[in-house]
């Protein structure tokens, strides 16, 4: 009976399987430790929660070949400057609300989730809100009572999920914070809402209709 070649032997492949798995896993652990400082709040790619006190924009960066969030001047959410701890509590309440209402099973967040409703990564910056002056109030009103608002021409609507005003405001804070994450250029080509301080280019009469669009 001939001997199986060493490179085809069961024992070699058993050892290979163990070593390949082990080495891959050690690499993964190492990379995980390396990645965590990038993605912790206040890390390299993910802003601290108090970023919701600032204006957030999204622009193409020539040097990096991708769209990146741009943090601008003070622009407190709901007109109130928050400490880091207060901001974290608010964003956390909003994140908890997005989980409790199972947003991810219609929407995508950072592109992950279901595909029945639009992506929320840049919800804060979406031009559908019309003007930056009315955006906050419109978002809260929409979240609290979405069903009867104008959505789109294809008949898909968001159901009433019993979101309270407190939850709605917190959700808006979460969405604003999420829009400041450096997502390596996703989404590409996005044209954010005009946030310049010049008077809005949109004629005042059409603003409410546009704001009710999402």
């Amino acid at each position: 009976m001939s001997q199986t070649a060493w490179w085809a032997s069961e024992s070699l492949w058993r050892k290979s399987a163990i070593w390949v798995t082990g080495v891959s896993f050690i690499f993964l652990i190492y990379l995980t430790f390396d990645t965590l400082p990038y993605i912790k709040a206040g890390g390299t790619n993910v802003p601290g929660f108090s970023v919701i006190n600032k204006r957030i924009d999204y622009q193409y960066n020539e040097a990096k070949h991708r769209y990146l969030p741009v943090i601008g001047q003070d622009e407190p959410l709901f007109g109130k400057m928050l400490t880091e701890a207060e901001a974290e509590a608010l964003v956390s309440k909003g994140k908890l609300t997005t989980q409790a209402k199972n947003c991810m099973e219609c929407h995508t967040l950072l592109g992950n989730g279901a595909y029945y409703a639009p992506d929320l990564t840049k919800a804060w910056l979406d031009p559908a809100w019309g003007s930056k002056e009315t955006r906050e109030a419109d978002m809260v009103a929409f979240l609290m009572n979405p069903t009867d608002k104008l959505h789109n021409s294809i008949g898909r609507r968001m159901p009433n999920l019993g979101i309270t005003e407190e939850e709605a405001k917190a959700t808006v804070a979460f969405l604003k914070w999420m829009s400041a994450i450096n997502t390596m250029g996703f989404p590409h080509n996005f044209k954010p809402l005009d946030q310049s301080d010049a008077p809005a280019a949109v004629p005042a009469a059409t603003a409410p209709a546009a704001a009710a669009q999402p």
Binding site: M1, S2, T4, A5, W7, A8, H65, R66, M184, G185
Partner: protein, 120 residues
């Protein structure tokens, strides 16, 4: 390392050539294995024709997805060409060697057309 997003005009090319990479890769592997298994060397040129198709697909994909604009992605292209080429060879040898005992022990439920591993 630069990731240069695909131009809109190249979307179809990217999807199609990527699918063709895998499909020609499988065709190459299938023809290669079948030719050896049934000892039909005349099929071997067809296998390499499939591999040629794979090379064209990889090249088309690399062009459309802007992979040649960057050293890392060019290296990946080379690695794909090499990997898809050697994988069927390597696995064939492994098949022959691991099934060695089966033929030696006289376990031949099949009659005609013994696979070539008997010779090894």
């Amino acid at each position: 390392m630069i990731v240069e997003p695909v131009a809109l005009a190249n979307f179809f090319t990217v999807f199609f050539s990527a699918a063709m990479v895998i499909l020609t890769g499988a065709t190459y592997a299938l023809l290669f294995a079948y030719s050896r298994l049934r000892q039909r060397p005349r099929l071997m040129p067809l296998a390499y024709l499939a591999y040629f198709g794979l090379s064209v697909s990889v090249y088309t994909l690399a062009q459309a997805a802007n992979l040649f604009n960057d050293t890392f992605w060019t290296f990946i292209v080379g690695l794909m060409l090499l990997g898809y080429f050697v994988a069927p060879h390597g696995v064939w040898h492994l098949c022959v060697a691991t099934h060695d005992q089966e033929s030696v022990d006289g376990h031949k439920p099949h009659d005609e057309g013994n696979p070539s591993f008997v010779r090894s």
